[in-house]
Each structure stands twice: as structure tokens, then as C-alpha cells.
Amino acid sequence: MGSFQSLPDDHQYRTLSQKTGFSLEQIGILHNRFKQLSQNEDTLRRDDLKTIQDLESNPIRSQIIEAFFDKRNFQKDATGSVQEIGFEEFLTVMSYFRAPAHQITEEQREEIRRAKLRFLFNMHDTDNDGTITLEEYRHVVEELLSRSGALGRETAKGIADAAMLEVASITVGPMAPDEFYEGITFEQFLKILKGVEIETRMHIRFLNMDTTVLCK
């Protein structure tokens, strides 16, 4: 972490490109952005992200920022969160949002799908115990709906409860008497989002052109 030099180095770019699947141009652009955000430091802190103006109005801003500092998303089998990230981690997190290549096999597609959903799951599962409990879910939903103005906290809570209920009824079905619904596990998470084409939805277009100058 932090070992990456701020100087654009062709070799390092190539390694990163292989790891994350971004093209060299895209990495270059993202690196520029990284430097812009971190004020030319090697590492990025939470505060750096919090200063992004457009992000301010995002209701789940804190969750998203947290995801960038979550070790689980670095594909290194570690847990916990960090204080600052290097460019490589930044890129790794970004790569969750990369559009899949045009020609991929079913297994690859499934793998991408799992990875993306895992990212989403991690965002909900803040205490990293493998389940999204009602509280965790409520928290996210409340944040999510907090900006809409129309819905109060109580409603948000109600919606979260109803959604959770739905998950329980879909995934577990009628429950045995001594069964107890702990929360959404990842497998159940996969199951309920079966209908959502996440592999084609959860990505943004990374341009080969630098537009960082346009938005500060």
C-alpha cells in the first residue's frame, strides 16, 4: 500500500492493467484523478473523497466512501478497514464497476456477477459477520431514503422491515417453529437479486478520454 509511485510508470501500469482489466489509457486517467483527489499524495484518505462536491448530495455517500476503504473489497482475503488507500486499491475498487468484456463465457459472467454482488453485500454488511441483519439493512435504507424528503425515518424503517420480510419469505419460505431469521446471507442475497441483471447494470463507462478537468 502506498508503494505505488506517483510517476506514471509503464511497467506498473501494465501490471495494474492485468490485475484490474482496465486499459492503459483508463488507468492513466484514473491515476490523474487519483492524484487530483489526493492532492498529489500517494495515498487517499476518506476526507479526500468527502471533499468531492458532487458527492455531497448523495444519500449513501458514507457507505460508498467506506467501501473504498474496506479491505474486503481489495480482493486480498482480508477484513477490516484502512485509513488510507493507494492507487492500486483505488483501482481495484473501481474495477467492480468496469463493464464486462463483450465476449465472455457463462462462468466468467457468473463470477463477475458474484463479485459485484459481493461488493454490494459488503456495503450492507458493515460488521462483516456474513449476514445483513435487520439493523444493518435498516441503516442503509434509512440513509438511502433520507434525501428524498418525502419519507420519514419511520417509513424508511417500515420499508426496510417489509423488504427484509420479503427476503425471509422468498429465501426461507415458511419457517419451522424454532427457526429464526438472522439476516440475509450472501447466498440469499444472490437468490433475491437473481432477477436483476447486475452484471449488466452495475457498471459505468470509463472513458479513454480525460474529463477530470471538467469536474472538480
Binding site: 448523495n58 449513501i60 464497476f97 417509513t155 420480510l165 437479486l193
Partner: protein, 832 residues
């Protein structure tokens, strides 16, 4: 099925026989006022037969009726032959038969689908319906692709078909025809467009995935506008004559194309704004506000037609733009009215269009056969459609994040159904400038029949065979909606972080702008509050639960069980004294095992807080406590609002009679609050109101906690199966879903926090909070029965099942379900 077809045919025969001598030479739609009866009367007749007075409306009504019967029989027929044929195709075939009967009786076709009828009376509601129900997000997300297909695809089709036909004609493939290049292009223009009516009719039956659907559907809707424009431009060229056309005229033609298309769209948007503003202030004329939607939609169509802009585009954009605002502004019932009426009108006209298309064909006059022309047209439209789709998709795929797949392209090409718009345009051709009008009409008809019947029929097998990605079963999944919402924000945020202005940036920018200004302008302030999509779904789910509960109650003998419930609670004190006392210590012990987070709360207080659960042991309630009815009556007398004489008229044109006056609601509300306040005071002792039960679900559950849920779960399951059997498949899946939901409610994890303001007076007095909350249950809370302390001691039916495990289960599950309990079980009895 057979019988209804028979009836339908009979009806048609009757119609023909009856009407034949009278309508000869008159088209149905044209009124003829000069047919007054002028005989001199010799005496006062008791009854007279005045056919001419009613002729036109009568015929119209009769044909509409016949169309309705045809639809009915087609549906029946389709049912029995397992839906191989699309409805549209069957309707056309039925139309052939009807037409045959008409011709057989009349010796000539006296009925045909006139372009004016089609364009002014049948088409507008279909377009309005399609746009009003347009999935907006999907539509605008794919708008670029749709526009490319609709504009360039259609132009390509028109030009390629026209030119190729002309080439073939020049090469001598069609024999001697008096058609020039311009006429061929005109014909190409009218035959180019995929027809929304046909496409919707077919694609609705084959549930393809949503992107494919919106591409085909959006294209068909918008390219109708384009084709009409093309038609007008070429029609102008044709009447201008070949030699007059120079570069300037062509340039003017292109300008006209742009102006007509975009002008129409803008006028449509203007009408959408007008309509939205109008619905902002129709609060006091709720009964007719639904009518405004249709009128303004129709006016937008006619106005634009008057301005010779694209009427279809206008109505499309009118519907697409206003749907959000009018749905939010209007009363819920009006929205339902609009939805149903819209569907009815659209479905009706669709039926009529296909039926009349069939009827029109059986006419000896219009048919002119030219093998070369007809076959070549069929071939060309098929080939160029495929080429066009693949060409434009290839171009689009370079820019699309998610490419349109090959299989989808095949389906898109094959879904190029032509329909009534093409026929209407062909029938509008001017015979003086286009001598071969009849040939064009017959060719168009053949193309329509070929595509609708043949391609429409083979579409389903093709889709299955190609394994086209089908639409995901889209029921109301709150989780998915929530996740979609989360996606939007995540994507926007990631775009922000990586510093690029992308699609999500624009979407978000628009959303913000829309929220701030457009909604402010076009939406009622109150509507703005609860128009959130998620909230709607939540609301719907809640409604479903409530309805479920009511129907459950009704199955159980309806209010009997609710009243019994009531009765059971009335003499709680007595029961408490005698039976409950010995159970009490056990509760206390049990209670301490669960970490409620409320250490010093007494069991009685907990029990008091609970509300009788719906599903609790309904069976046990029947037939017991007959004596308690007296008590119940006393209680009801004491607390229920005594209904006053209503001075509403029984019949009112402008209002549905509403059972309650405002004051009544107010009074009930105040009483409720008062009695709650009392109970609050009494319950306050020994309770620590600040603590919440939050960790409850994390604790290990014991058998006792859930002992009761099992029973309920099974109860629900059994009843869902037995009770629903007779209903259709849809309703049974619905029931199953909701029952599952019901079973889920029993699970302790969903125990709502005890600090939820409305329902548990112990912790936070609801009347100190906002009384009008946006949650559905709490709105209805106003109308609730007074909550006597007695009442809240519901689980005292302990007496019927007095093991302590059941008691605990009762406590837990009543706590959980109380969110939807009150309004359903009290509401019913109040409004009895």
C-alpha cells in the same frame, strides 16, 4: 367458445340482414341528417319505427358490440387452442368471416375501415394508452437507440423498399404499371413503419426481456410519427409532380420532416404540462378529473393534426411526460379509473382495428393483383428490415454499454409487423395522383395479413426456440427496488469519484432539476410528499396485507371472528383474576430470559401493549363467549362513535356516498387519543421509555418464542391451498406470496421496535408526535376504535390455550404483527 363464435356470427348476420336495405351506399360513420321521415300521419301512432333517427349511432354501437363479441370469442378460442395464434391474427381471420357475411348479404362490401375513422377515433386512445403506461425510465434510458431505429431505420426502410421496387419495376418485373419513382418512394414510406398496435398485440403475449421490448415498442411508437411525416413529404412531392422538385424542395422536405416530428413532440409536451397543471386543481371535481386525461390527450392529438404536425408523436410525448404528475396529483380512485378506462378504450379499439382490417379485405372492389409487385414488396420489407436492424444495431453497439445481442436482433427484425397505420395511410392516397392506389392498398393489406398472422404466429415459437432472454418474473419485490435505488446512487457516486461526467451524472442532474422545479410546478405539494416510488410499493404491500387480513377474516366467518375477538377481550379482568394469576410468575421468568432491553418492565405492561393478533388461534374463537356479547355491546356502546343520520342523498352524480363526515372522523380520533392518553398514564409506571428493543432478534430464540408461529404458518399455508383452488393461477400465486408474507410476519425478527410511536403508547405518546404520518397504517390510526386498556389486553385468550409457551408466543407475535393489526381489526368493526 364455439357458442360465442356462433352468437357473434349470428349477430353479424342479423346486422347485415336488418341493415342492408337501409345503409346501402352509406358509410357507417357519416351521419345523414336528410333522412327524416316525412310521411303525413293519418292518426296518432302508438309506436313508430324510426330507424333513420338512430341509424348512425345504432350502427356504430352495433359494430362495436360485434367487435366486443369477436374479442370474447377469440379469447375463448385462444384458450382452447393453447394460445398458438396471436389474438390479432385471429381477429383478422374472424374479420374475414364477418366480411364474408356482409358481402354475402349485400353483394358488395358496405363496410370498410375508413382512414378518418381509424386516425381520429381508433388510433388516439391506443397511442395514449401506450404512452401513459410507458415504462419511463426504461424508455428514456434507451431513447437514443429507439430514436436511431425509429428515424434512421424507418427512413432506410422507406428509401430501400421504394428504390428497390422502382428498380424492379424498371427492370420489368411487375409488368406494366403506372408508377413513378416518387410514387414508389411514397409507398415505401407508408409501408416502412412497424406498427405499434400489431407489435404490442404480439409482443405482449411473448414476454421478451425488457430492453428488447422497449426497443421494439418504442421504435414502433415513434416511427409511426416518422412514417406519417415521410408520407406527407412524399405525398407533397407527388402532387407537386416530378419536374417541379429541385434541391430547394428537397431541402424543404427535410426541414418539414424535422419541424413536423419535433414540433409535434413539443406540442405534446406542452399539453402534458397543461394536463399536469390542470390535475393540480381538480380536487373538488374528482369525479370528472379522470375525463380530463382523455380529453387533453385527445385534444393534443387533434390540435397537432390541425397544425399538420405529427399527431402520434404528440400524443406519445404527452402521455409519457404527464404520467408521473397526473398520477401523483389525482385521487387514487381517479388514477384507477384512468387506468382501467384507458385499457378498455385501447383494447377495444385494437380489437376493432384488427377485426375491421379483416372485414375490409373481403371486398371485390379493392383487390388488384400484381404478383411481382406484391411478392417483391413482401420480400423487400422483410430483407431490408433485417438489414436495417443489424446495421443500426451494429452501429449502436459501438456506443452501448450493454450491446444488443444477436438473438435479440433476430427477434427485432422478425418483429417488424405492419399494421393498420400503413393501411390507413394507403387508403388515404389520392387516386388522381396515384393511379395504382388500389394495388397499393391490396399490397398493404397483404403485407399486414402476412406479417400479423404469419409472423405474429411464429413469433412465439421463434422466441422459445432461440431462447431469447425472457422478461424476469416481475412481481413487486421491494428488495429489488431498494437495490435499484442503491445502484443509482452508487453509480453516480463512483462516477463522481472517478471524476467523469457520465450518463449517471446527467440522470442525476435531471432528477435534481426535476425535483426542484418541475415537480414544484406540476405537482400538488401534498402529492409531492408521497409520490416516492418505493413508498408506493410499500404502501401497496401494506394494502395487500390488509386486504389479505380482511379476506382471511371473511373466510373465517367474517366479523364474527373479529367480534369474538372483541368479546373475548372485554371481560379480561375477570379472566385475569381467575386464570391469569397463576400463569403470571411463569411469564415473569420467561421474560427475563429474553433480553428485551427493558429490565424493569412488568409482564402485564408488555401484555397490555400488545394488540390482538389476527392469526392468533382464530378457530378457538368461534362459538365461545356468547355471553360476552353483552359485554361487548356495552363496550361498543361506550366507545364507539354512534353513527348519526346521514343527510347525504342516496344518489349523487358528483360524489360517491361517503359514510363519514369529517367531524365524525375527528371525534373518533379525539376519543381514541383520549383513551390512549389514559392508558398511557397508567402504563407509564415502571417502564423505562427510552430503551428500545433493538437487540431482540439477535438473541437465540427458543422454542417457546416461536411455538405459536408454526401453527400460524401452517394455518396460512393450508388455507391458501384449499381456499384458492378455484381461482385462477394468477390469484393463487398472489395468494401464496402474500400468505408466505403473512407467515413471515410471525417471525420474531420482524418485531418492530417497541418505540414505534403510534402503536405502543407505553413509550412515546403518539398524540405528541405528528398525527398525520406518511405511513399508511398510521393514517388510518385516526379512525381507530378507542383503545381501552381492556382491549389491549388481548392475549387473554390465554384462557383458551393456557400453556405458558403459547402465552409467550402470543406476546411475541402480537408484538410483531401489531403494525397492521389495528386498522384492520378495529377499522372493520367501526365501520360496520
Amino acid at each position: 367458445m364455439a357458442s360465442s363464435t356462433y352468437i357473434c356470427l349470428l349477430r353479424a348476420a342479423f346486422l347485415v340482414c336488418l341493415v342492408y336495405p337501409l345503409v346501402k351506399g352509406n358509410s357507417v360513420e357519416v351521419p345523414n341528417p336528410h333522412h327524416h321521415q316525412t310521411e303525413n300521419l293519418t292518426g296518432l301512432p302508438i309506436v313508430t319505427f324510426k330507424w333513420h333517427h338512430v341509424e348512425t349511432p345504432y350502427l356504430v354501437a352495433l359494430w362495436v358490440f360485434v367487435a366486443g363479441l369477436a374479442k370474447l370469442s377469440v379469447i375463448q378460442l385462444n384458450h382452447s387452442i393453447t394460445g398458438v395464434f396471436p389474438e390479432s391474427g385471429l381477429l383478422i381471420i374472424l374479420g374475414f368471416i364477418l366480411g364474408g357475411i356482409v358481402v354475402g348479404a349485400d353483394k358488395a362490401q358496405t363496410f370498410k375501415l375508413l382512414p378518418s375513422t381509424f386516425f381520429y377515433y381508433l388510433l388516439p386512445q391506443i397511442i395514449l394508452d401506450a404512452s401513459y403506461f410507458m415504462p419511463n425510465k426504461l424508455f428514456f434510458r434507451n431513447l437514443g437507440a429507439i430514436l436511431i431505429y425509429a428515424i434512421f431505420g424507418t427512413c432506410w426502410n422507406a428509401a430501400a423498399v421504394g428504390l428497390s421496387l422502382w428498380g424492379c419495376h424498371e427492370a420489368g418485373a411487375m409488368g406494366d404499371l403506372n408508377i413513378g419513382l416518387l410514387q414508389f418512394l411514397l409507398f415505401g414510406g407508408l409501408i416502412a413503419a412497424v406498427d405499434p398496435v400489431a407489435v404490442i398485440a404480439v409482443f405482449e403475449e411473448v414476454h421478451v426481456n425488457e430492453v428488447l421490448f422497449i426497443l421494439v415498442f418504442g421504435e414502433s411508437l415513434l416511427n409511426d410519427g416518422v412514417t406519417v411525416v415521410l408520407y406527407n413529404v412524399f405525398d407533397g412531392f407527388v402532387s407537386l409532380g416530378g419536374p417541379m422538385i429541385d434541391a430547394a424542395e428537397i431541402f424543404k422536405g427535410i426541414c418539414s420532416f424535422v419541424v413536423v416530428a419535433f414540433g409535434g413532440s413539443f406540442v405534446g409536451v406542452a399539453f402534458a404540462i397543461l394536463l399536469s397543471l390542470l390535475t393540480r386543481c381538480t380536487k373538488h371535481v374528482q369525479i370528472i378529473e379522470a375525463g380530463f386525461v382523455f380529453l387533453v390527450g385527445y385534444l393534443s392529438y387533434l390540435t397537432v393534426e390541425m397544425l399538420s404536425l405529427s399527431a402520434i408523436l404528440s400524443t406519445t410525448f404527452c402521455g409519457v411526460c404527464c404520467q408521473k404528475y397526473i398520477n401523483a396529483n389525482m385521487d387514487e380512485r381517479s388514477v384507477t379509473t384512468v387506468r382501467h378506462a384507458m385499457k378498455m378504450l385501447a383494447n377495444g379499439s385494437e380489437t376493432m382495428i384488427f377485426l375491421f382490417l379483416g372485414v375490409t379485405a373481403i371486398d371485390t372492389e379493392i383487390w388488384v393483383w400484381n404478383t411481382g409487385f406484391i411478392l417483391l414488396t413482401l420480400l423487400f420489407i422483410f430483407i431490408y428490415r433485417i438489414i436495417g436492424v443489424f446495421m443500426f444495431t451494429w452501429m449502436l453497439n459501438k456506443f452501448r454499454l450493454v450491446p444488443v445481442e444477436l438473438i435479440d436482433q433476430v427477434v427485432m427484425s422478425y418483429g417488424g409487423l405492419r399494421g393498420a397505420v400503413a393501411y390507413g395511410l394507403a387508403a388515404m392516397l389520392d387516386e388522381s395522383t396515384i393511379p395504382e392506389k388500389k394495388l397499393m392498398i391490396s399490397t398493404t393489406l397483404i403485407v399486414v395479413y402476412f406479417t400479423v398472422i404469419l409472423q405474429g404466429t411464429t413469433m412465439k415459437p421463434l422466441v422459445q426456440w432461440l431462447k431469447v432472454k425472457r422478461a424476469a418474473h416481475s412481481d413487486l419485490k421491494l428488495v429489488e427496488k431498494l437495490n435499484n435505488r442503491a445502484f443509482d446512487h452508487i453509480l453516480a457516486a463512483v462516477e463522481d469519484i472517478c471524476g467523469r461526467i457520465g450518463d449517471n451524472w446527467w440522470t442525476r442532474g435531471w432528477n435534481r432539476f426535476e425535483e426542484k422545479y418541475i415537480s414544484w410546478l406540476l405537482m400538488k405539494p401534498k402529492a409531492r410528499k408521497n409520490r416516492d416510488y418505493l413508498f408506493n410499493i410499500f404502501h401497496k404491500l401494506n394494502l395487500e396485507d390488509a386486504m389479505n387480513y380482511v379476506s382471511e377474516g371473511e373466510r373465517q366467518g367474517s366479523l364474527a371472528f373479529i367480534r369474538n375477538d372483541e368479546a373475548a377481550n372485554v371481560d379480561f379482568k375477570k379472566q385475569f383474576d381467575s386464570e391469569f394469576a397463576d400463569v403470571m410468575p411463569d411469564i415473569m421468568v420467561d421474560m427475563s430470559n429474553y433480553d428485551f432491553g427493558i429490565e424493569n418492565i412488568s409482564a402485564a405492561a408488555i401484555v397490555k401493549d400488545t394488540i390482538p393478533s389476527v392469526s392468533l388461534d382464530i378457530h378457538g374463537q368461534d362459538g365461545k363467549n356468547v355471553v360476552d356479547d353483552i359485554n361487548a355491546h356495552r363496550l361498543l356502546q361506550q366507545h364507539l362513535y354512534r353513527s348519526r343520520k346521514h343527510h347525504h342523498h342516496k344518489y349523487s352524480r358528483s360524489h360517491f356516498s361517503i359514510n363519514q363526515s369529517e367531524e365524525e372522523v375527528q371525534e373518533i380520533f379525539q376519543r381514541t387519543m383520549r383513551s390512549r392518553l389514559e392508558s398511557f398514564k397508567s402504563a407509564k409506571m415502571g417502564v423505562n421509555p427510552t430503551k428500545k428493543i433493538t437487540k431482540f432478534h439477535k438473541k437465540d430464540p427458543t422454542d417457546k418464542m416461536n411455538g405459536h408461529t408454526e401453527g400460524n404458518g401452517y394455518l396460512y399455508g393450508d388455507e391458501a391451498d384449499s381456499g384458492v383452488g378455484a381461482d385462477g393461477a394468477i390469484s393463487s400465486t398472489f395468494m401464496r406470496d402474500t400468505y408466505k408474507m403473512g407467515a413471515g410476519i410471525e417471525n420474531p425478527v420482524f418485531m418492530p421496535d417497541m418505540d414505534s410511536p403510534v402503536h405502543s403508547p407505553v413509550h412515546s405518546p403518539p398524540w405528541l408526535l405528528e398525527t398525520e404520518m406518511s405511513v399508511a397504517p398510521s393514517q388510518r390510526a385516526q379512525r381507530r376504535l378507542p383503545w381501552t386498556p381492556n382491549r389491549r389486553l388481548a392475549p387473554m385468550r390465554i384462557s383458551t390455550c393456557s400453556t405458558d409457551s403459547f402465552l409467550m408466543a402470543d406476546v411475541s407475535s402480537t408484538l410483531e404483527v401489531h403494525e397492521e393489526q389495528p386498522q384492520s381489526d378495529n377499522g372493520e368493526s367501526v365501520f360496520e
